[in-house]
């Protein structure tokens, strides 16, 4: 399975200088890089929120279009999925295949619910009667809020979708009969990714959504 095992003998754990598995170092480096991706997107949104506060001469009140109850619900679902993910990693470390399978399944379902909420939300916003928020306009007037909002939350949604497909891969693999504790490191890397995507949402939710209600 692993690239790294090509370096040491196949049936041994690869020996590394730090004692940390190569894949884990890779994943942490990737997450560091991904922070900068989201950092750029979030700053873009915040910059424009401040300098483009009006639309068609009127103050932009995005609360007219936001559905904070729905987003709060989907936020809760995404956070809860992290619990399942952590339990899945723990189960595979212990070699409990049944538990791993159920926990992966739970993570996938919750991830999918989150994605469904986002699809509903996007459709709802674009067609909100009188308050249409599209990629290029708000209430028919050219505006930047839709651009920054959809591209930012869309990028996050893409990350969640990639995570869901990755987890589906593991779920399918668990039925081949080959899954064992030897795969724990790979599942853990997948978990790191999943938790990171969650953490990004923990930043996005207050900064993009809640802040509109506070200030």
């Amino acid at each position: 399975m692993s690239e790294a095992s090509a370096h040491a003998l196949d049936h041994h754990e690869p020996v590394t200088s730090t004692g940390i598995h190569n894949k884990k170092v890779l994943m942490w480096a990737f997450l560091g890089s991904d922070c900068m991706f989201f950092g750029t997107l979030i700053s873009t949104h915040l910059i424009y929120r401040k300098i483009s506060a009006t639309v068609g001469g009127n103050f932009l009140d995005i609360r007219d279009v936001f559905d904070i109850e729905l987003t709060s619900f989907s936020t809760f679902i995404l956070l809860a999925s992290s619990l399942f993910m952590a339990l899945a990693v723990s189960a595979i470390h212990k070699g409990n295949l049944t538990s791993t399978r159920w926990m992966l399944f739970g993570t996938i379902i919750f991830g999918a619910i989150f994605l469904a909420c986002q699809v509903y939300e996007f459709t709802h916003f674009v067609h909100a009667p009188g308050n249409e928020l599209t990629l290029s306009s708000y209430r028919g007037e050219p505006h930047v809020f839709g651009s920054t909002f959809y591209v930012l939350t869309g990028t996050h949604g893409t990350h969640v979708a990639i995570g869901v497909f990755w987890l589906l891969g593991w779920l399918a693999y668990s039925f081949t009969g080959k899954m064992s504790t030897a795969d724990a490191m790979d599942v853990e890397c997948c978990g790191l990714y999943w938790h990171f995507v969650d953490i990004v949402w923990i930043i996005i939710f207050p900064v993009i959504y809640l802040m509109e209600y506070a200030f």
Partner: protein, 648 residues
């Protein structure tokens, strides 16, 4: 040394591949398949280097066309638009397709040898990085053949030049090609950097502590960190630009609420670390060469590394000095001005350390050393003009003049390219097993040094008397002609020098007249020089146990307790991984995805509406995903080699 003394065995049952449908090309793969499927860091390094040298010639021809156009006032070698395309393509090519991949070629080839590893941490990912780079180079240059030709927006692609409504040619696809090629090239750089970071952190030979790492490896690590932290900014900026051009968002659209200024910030927050991404590898190379040719250890090893890290860190805090004339306000401008002045300190420390290394040494003026010295002197000129620019009032005078062109060519040719050429002359004997022709090397250096200074030194003056950069022609009566003609003559001399150098590098492996190099022709200091030239497939027959910095030197001259040791050879021998098709398949899928995205739009001639057809993009994406899935389930496989102790 003979190959027949190596005992080959069939893979044992434990290493059999799990999926039998598509076996990995094995040990005895030959010819083109061997190169297409290789996961050997040395072969990947060679391919990176050859492709980058090819693009160096392309970018050089573009530069010479620019210089021909500027030979005299109101010349007509190129039209206005062609001129804009030339400087755009020249800049983009030289930055992304020449200097960065040449550095990557050295990272790939040299770094694992310097740390005592048999390969990088993720060999197949390394191959994917190579093919993505080549796909990006092809994508960028395909733009010549489609609507509007190549991008004419500058390598910086400032908004609103990229706005579809301001395109000179209706339906101009140039900027789209530019956007997508930069995205794939960014992917290639990111993949390579994750790999190098993991390799350097995790795959050092026993005893190779961080403070025993050769400086070149340290610079690889720092540059890799710069890449993974800087490239996301340009990736997102390009995604936003793509959305603007394709789906009508308003990120940079000033008519609908966007701010072109944001593009400048996002571009330069990537673009300034990029400058250090280009120069730090050359600094690493020079830090290897100067001690060897002065026969002294590097003076201030720790300081050189620490300054490199500080340069990398501060490189993220100075981007707005590219934007002093945009009106950011006094506070921001002053802060960036001060930080820019501060970054000169670690750079100066490095230069003093190189001088300190040479001080009292027994200096040999062979070609690598000549290029290294050329690097120090020419980079200093570029550095000094850089410090001048950190002063806001002076910058306002120099902005968009030829003075700036002189400045960054002193940094990027006199600095980066001279450093990389020094690296070629230094390490090619290790790569090909043969010494390069020393006389020809010195001739190349002379041509390049003279041609380079003739080209770019007059530009300082031209800028001061007011010749604007990125401008197609100039009128009579400004007194620009003489100096421009000198610069053009210089550019052709430089071009001939580079062409001879490239010829020398590319033919090094085939030229029968060259003398064999042996293990350590320069009496050099670092670990790669303990290996035979060319390096064996497995690099190290037995993993070395490192006892000191400059291990090769210590083995020859140091006290007994500093000599490196070797781990015993395992019963299993050296495990070599099999080759793989899937990096290439994945890269082809990504290439297809990009082409599909580029051509997904068409206009219905009856209604004038835009029709979107994602079939080809999706097909490409599916191929890429299949590639990744097959990649993850194809299993390790491989074979074992049993080299004798003397064979490495």
């Amino acid at each position: 040394m003979a190959t027949e003394s190596i005992k080959y065995v069939t893979p044992d049952s434990d290493t059999k591949i799990e999926t039998k449908a598509f076996p990995r090309p094995g040990q005895h793969t030959k010819g083109i398949v061997n190169w297409l499927t290789t996961i050997d860091h040395k072969k990947i390094g060679i391919m990176y280097g050859v492709a980058a040298l090819f693009f160096l010639i392309i970018g050089g021809i573009e530069a010479l066309l620019i210089r021909s156009q500027l030979w005299d006032h109101n010349m007509d070698v190129l039209t206005n638009r062609q001129y804009n395309q030339m400087f755009t393509m020249h800049g983009t090519t030289m930055v992304f397709l020449v200097i960065m991949p040449l550095s990557a070629a050295f990272f790939n080839f040299i770094m694992p040898l310097q740390i005592g590893a048999r390969d990088v941490a993720f060999p197949r990912m390394n191959t994917l990085s190579l093919w993505c780079f080549i796909a990006g180079g092809i994508t960028l240059n395909l733009s010549w053949f489609f609507t509007g030709g190549s991008p004419a927006i500058g390598w910086f692609g400032y908004a609103p030049l990229t706005d579809t409504r301001f395109a000179e040619v209706l339906g101009d696809m140039g900027p789209d090609f530019w956007i997508f090629s930069l995205q794939i090239l960014g992917l290639a750089s990111l993949l390579a950097s994750f790999n190098f970071i993991t390799t350097i952190i995790n795959m050092r030979a026993p005893g190779m502590t961080m403070m025993r790492l050769p400086v070149f490896t340290w610079m690889t690590l720092i540059v890799s960190f710069l890449i993974i932290l800087a490239f996301p900014a340009i990736t997102i900026a390009l995604v936003e630009l793509m959305f603007d051009r394709t789906y009508g968002t308003n990120f940079y659209d000033f008519l609908e609420g966007g701010k072109p200024h944001l593009w400048q910030h996002l571009f330069w927050i990537f673009g300034h670390p990029e400058v250090y991404i280009l120069i730090l590898p050359a600094m690493g190379i020079v830090s290897e060469i100067i001690p060897v040719f002065s026969r002294k250890p590097l003076f201030g090893y720790g300081l050189i590394i620490f300054s490199g890290a500080i340069i990398g860190f501060m490189g993220f805090a100075v981007w707005s000095h590219h934007m002093f004339t945009t009106g950011m306000g006094i506070v921001a401008t002053s802060a960036f001005s001060i930080l820019t002045m501060l970054i000169a300190i670690p750079t100066g420390i490095k230069i003093f350390n190189w001088i300190g290394t040479m001080w009292g040494g027994r200096i040999r003026f062979e070609t690598p050393m000549l290029f290294a010295l050329g690097f120090i002197t020419m980079f200093m000129v570029g550095g000094f003009t850089g410090i001048m620019h950190s002063s806001v009032p002076i910058d306002a005078q120099h902005q968009d003049s030829y003075f700036v062109v002189a400045h960054f060519h002193y940094v990027l040719i006199g600095g980066a390219l001279f450093g990389l050429f020094a690296g070629f002359y230094f390490w090619l004997p290790k790569l090909s097993g043969k010494m390069l022709n020393e006389k020809l090397g010195k001739f190349v250096f002379t041509l390049m040094f003279i041609g380079f200074n003739l080209t770019f030194f007059p530009m300082h003056y031209l800028g001061m008397i007011g010749q604007p950069r990125r401008t197609h022609s100039y009128n009579e009566g400004h007194g620009f002609e003489t100096w421009n003609q000198i610069a053009t003559i210089g550019a052709f001399i430089l071009g001939v020098g580079i062409a001879i150098g490239v010829y020398q590098f590319v033919t090094a492996a085939f030229n029968k007249k060259l003398k064999p190099a042996g293990k350590n022709p320069w009496d050099a200091r670092t670990l790669e020089w303990t290996l035979s030239s060319p390096v064996k497939e497995y690099n190290f027959a037995r993993t070395p146990i490192i006892k000191s910095r400059d291990q090769a030197w210590e083995n020859n001259y140091g006290p007994k307790e500093n000599h490196s040791d070797k781990e015993p050879l395992d019963d299993h021998g050296v495990h070599m991984p099999d080759r793989s098709w899937y990096p290439l398949v994945t890269a082809l899928g990504i290439f297809g995805l990009v082409l599909g995205m580029l051509f997904h739009q068409s206009v219905d001639l009856n209604t004038g509406e835009i029709i979107r057809d994602y079939t080809y993009a999706i097909a490409g994406g599916v191929v890429a995903i299949i590639g990744i899935i097959m990649w993850s389930i194809e299993g390790p496989a491989g074979y074992h080699l049993f080299p004798k102790e003397s064979e490495e």
